[in-house]
């Protein structure tokens, strides 16, 4: 476990701010290409899609922290909050792009879409699930709620990730590699947890809450 220990030590030594800074780089790169005309004929769609995709990437990273610890012995728990907040940041920007630049504040049409279009319904549900997580992503909230209730609330992250993956699968016209790969990653991570919970219930080496 030499490697795992080294990564864990590195992770513990690393302050939190560089994770936020590195996580903001994709947004900065997108903004740079936007203002230098590098996004092609329909920049709105590129911005919307890339932000959504990064949201999914950070959701998957967030959900990978526990399996990394339990399976590979790499402990990056210190940085999970940063990864989760970055996921929220990208999903929020993705939603704002849809509201402001894509739908251009046509509220009636957006409400109809949320109600009628499964991929938008699912996407909005995923976003809604992330709001309480972002609001309680601080130590004060953990103290006020108590660790057990806080942890239970934060299982909404599973819902958000599943919603994100399904949202992507539903919106493409033909299933291509990317949405299938994201769905595979998300549901693989969720299946891993389901397996642990089953073992826990059957008393086969419970390892505590995930």
């Amino acid at each position: 476990m030499r490697f795992a220990e080294r990564v864990t030590t590195l992770g513990r030594r690393l302050p939190r701010w560089p994770v936020y800074a590195a996580g903001a780089l994709p947004a900065a790169w997108l903004a740079f290409r936007l203002f230098t005309g590098g996004l092609g004929a329909d920049p709105v769609k590129v911005v919307e899609h890339e932000l959504g995709e990064w949201g999914l990437v950070f959701l998957i990273a967030t959900l990978s922290v526990t399996p990394l610890r339990r399976v590979a012995g790499i402990n990056l728990m210190k940085h999970r909050r940063a990864l989760g907040l970055l996921a929220f940041f990208y999903v929020l920007l993705h939603l704002l792009t849809w509201v402001l630049l894509d739908m251009q504040l046509l509220w009636a049409e957006m409400l109809k879409d949320i109600y009628k279009r499964p991929y938008i319904t699912v996407g909005m549900a995923g976003f809604a699930a992330m709001v309480p997580l972002a609001v309680t992503a601080n130590n004060r909230a953990i103290r006020r709620m108590g660790a057990v209730a806080w942890q239970r609330l934060h299982r909404l992250a599973y819902l958000a990730a599943a919603a994100g993956a399904i949202h992507y699968l539903l919106l493409v016209k033909t299933v291509t590699f990317a949405p299938a790969a994201y769905a595979g990653a998300v549901f693989g991570l969720l299946a891993l947890r389901a397996g642990w919970n089953r073992r826990l219930r059957n008393g086969l080496g419970g390892l505590g809450p995930t």
Binding site: A41, D42, D113, K116, Y119
Partner: protein, 310 residues
Amino acid sequence: MPYRFRTSLKSSDVTPKSAWMNRRALLAGAGGAAFAGAIGLPARAELSYVKSPYSTQAEPNSLEDITSYNNFYEFGTGKDDPARHAHQLTTEPWPVEIDGMVGKPGTYDMDDILGGVTLEERIYRFRCVEAWSMVIPWIGFPLADLLRRVEPGPGAKYVAFETLVRPEEMPGQRRAILDWPYREGLRLDEAMHPLTILATGLYGDPMPKQNGAPIRLVVPWKYGFKSIKSIVRITLTDREPPTTWNMQNPREYGFYSNVNPEVDHPRWSQATERRIGGGLFSSRQPTLMFNGYGEEVAGLYAGMDLTKHY
């Protein structure tokens, strides 16, 4: 073992035609041709054409928008894939098979097809089923001109079209993204309508490969996917032909696929569209019935329930 010549060079190492055509164009010093070469189009003489009263007054999209933002799954599913990969396509020679219920079936090459037609510039609105739109200055001629020459039989009711299948030049076809060949179809009266054209050019130049060279259909009152590209087969038939997107997902894509703001695609609304070309703030505007061509084509569908025949 006998000596055999081997090389690590692949066919992809050969200078692409567009590149040496570029150099020629620059040497010739022809302004227009050099410009066409510079943006990756075949540098050939401009086409001669006449203006058409069917053209819209709207400002066309830039050539760059039109040639860099394409749905042409034969070259990949990304909007930029066709511009990146279509140079691999060989468009000469280009035989088109015309068969089925016609008096003069046969294999026609592009010279046969273009002989005796007058090319026109048709500046049309183009509305994609994905709720974006452009304005495109096509060069082409009425499909009816060609159909009349091959003499549709008395029983013919539909026209079916097929795109080339050539996976070695069309990388998207190496995977079963769609059930190749790409197929489209029109009712004969739609096909004979004067707005329906076979386009062979764009902005006064021969058709860029990513836009469906050398010959494609343009039906401006239908969603863009009906306007099939790089056609190699035209069949007249008495029954509604299978069409690719309808085969893929019949609930979402009907045979008619007329632009209709009142009939939503199950996954997205068709009430409005975004006009490509306005950058970050390209305006969303209401979609018009039959893409604004209702006066000319509504009569084709008199008495039909368009929510059923979507």
